[in-house]
Symmetry: C2
Subunit: 318 residues, 2 copies
């Protein structure tokens, strides 16, 4: 049985993900040029910057200049990322340009949380309680729970669906205590442990418990299964995906430099186009944006579709 | 409904595919070293050389030295490729080392056949009749029909399943006329047009007509859907796949240099390991063979699993 959606929503994370991990400094103008190119593709959500400490992520020390510099297009929600009060405050300065939504982000793996965030489970829950209160105080709606390492963890191994359920329940409790209404649940394969079978199992388990939450998948292509996992999600009716043009980004946890990060937006759009699922995105324009991203970073990106191109032009010529 | 096989057979084509397309000359010793490394992984079928005119494919002018030089391992079938009587004669000189099986190879796209082989449909059928007779005369069994461009063609566009059925029927007729018994049917996505949906449709159509043929998929990752397509085949019980270690090879028809060719064997094995489908292959040894292949060709290969590694070592360490 398949339950493909009629259309999906894509949250483009390429600018934020990509320019965070690239070693060389990327010019502010180049970042803006990519955001503007993406704005013209039909994408409706684009994450444009990360408000993190420049000391930790020098690649985003120009977040204000980027967010102040791109040309907003009506109908496109521009989002940003932050991890603490300082980051939230910086984002709040751009309420007129940014679509600000708060998430409750929890790792299903405590080992990952310790290694990556230097927090144990209780510390993570406490941080999210504080952040949720800060969002509410600032008038930023908190409508999403995000579970990192939902399929497995390089430090903890396989993650059981029951552990993910507990993590989601924790997030919903934090939201309820603060009076926030959670509508979206994002399951993130942070370190590339998902397989189609694990996608099916976890989605089935989560839906049984919370049938009304809208599911979103954040998939990495760390081990080559990214698009197969996306397809497994589509089969089950998942209609919200994060992705990055060109496969911009990378995985700092993969153990080897050069491991791919997010699935490539154009490969997801291509798959949907071929399956008859609407995305609202012009694939040809998106591929051009991906090629622009390659020129900006100065090296080949993981997306194979950037090499070969889509089928529509070949069909027209045939 | 899924019908995953308990185990699959993989025909490794990396050495033949890869060393054919690499621009630089690859030393004969290096080719042999890769074949010997692959022999130790548990793979049971390895295509080791192409007996083609050195004028056309200089990369295989040392086919005899390679085939005479590797260390055959009991239980492994070493295969080779040829396209005409001269190639067959060269292969026959190695009957003691090679597992010689003849195929009837037809393109479902006449346009591809014209462009790639300079033959129209009738010319292609006539060539296969002659080749089948030559195989029979030499005592080489002809047990396989292979359909190129079975999912689509850069020159003809989408290929209808009905066209593939006609092509298969042509191949079976040629075999029957020569008294050959066809057991295997290989469907090749020569130019990267397959999607999971097209895999499902074509396999269903073919099985309805010829339920007793053993199906094999030859998938290219030209547009990023290779492993998703393999997964679609696995779901339907397809138990035979061609692939290339590291994703060695490439697609000369993709329009851009650097487009990936065959799916990477280690990504297929990884998927099967994670799904509980036996391959007989030691994934760690195969990844090492893929890294050897990268050192031999002197550049990064398309496989992402070579970057990130498999999950088993992480599970053990967790």
């Amino acid at each position: 049985m398949t339950d493909f959606p009629d259309r999906i929503d894509i949250a483009e994370e390429g600018p934020r993900e990509g320019f965070q991990i690239e070693p060389g400094p990327i010019a502010t103008d180049a970042k803006i040029a990519l955001i503007d190119a993406l704005s013209a593709t039909g994408l409706r959500t684009i994450q444009v910057a990360s408000f993190v400490a420049p000391r930790l992520v020098p690649g985003w020390s120009d977040a204000e200049a980027v967010v102040g510099g791109f040309a907003p297009r009506p109908g496109v929600a521009y989002t940003a990322l932050w991890f603490n009060q300082a980051g939230l405050d910086r984002a709040l300065a751009f309420r007129d340009r940014l679509h600000l939504v708060g998430s409750i982000s929890l790792s299903a793996s405590e080992a990952f949380s310790r290694k990556n965030l230097n927090r144990d489970r209780e510390g993570q829950l406490a941080a999210m309680r504080r952040q949720t209160q800060a969002h509410q105080a600032a008038g930023v709606p908190v409508s999403r729970v995000l579970v990192m390492a939902a399929f497995g963890c390089n430090y903890a191994g396989d993650i059981a669906p029951a552990t993910v359920l507990t993590t989601i329940a924790d997030g919903l409790t934090i939201a309820a205590e603060a009076g926030a209404v959670i509508r979206d649940l994002s399951l993130a394969d942070t370190m590339g442990w998902a397989t189609p079978a694990r996608i099916e199992r976890l989605i089935g388990t989560v839906r049984d418990r919370w049938p009304d939450l809208r599911l979103s998948l954040h998939l990495h292509d760390t081990r080559g299964l990214g698009i197969a996992n996306a397809h497994a999600g589509l089969r089950l009716g998942v209609a919200r995906f994060d992705s990055a043009v060109g496969g911009l980004g990378g995985c700092p946890f993969a153990g080897q430099p050069g491991a791919p990060g997010n699935i490539a937006t154009e490969e997801l759009v291509f798959l949907c186009d071929e399956l008859g699922i609407a995305t609202g995105v012009d694939l040809a324009a998106l591929i051009e944006a991906g090629r622009l991203a390659e020129r900006i970073v100065g090296h080949r990106l993981p997306s194979t579709l950037l090499r070969s191109g889509a089928l529509a032009p070949l069909r027209r010529a045939a």
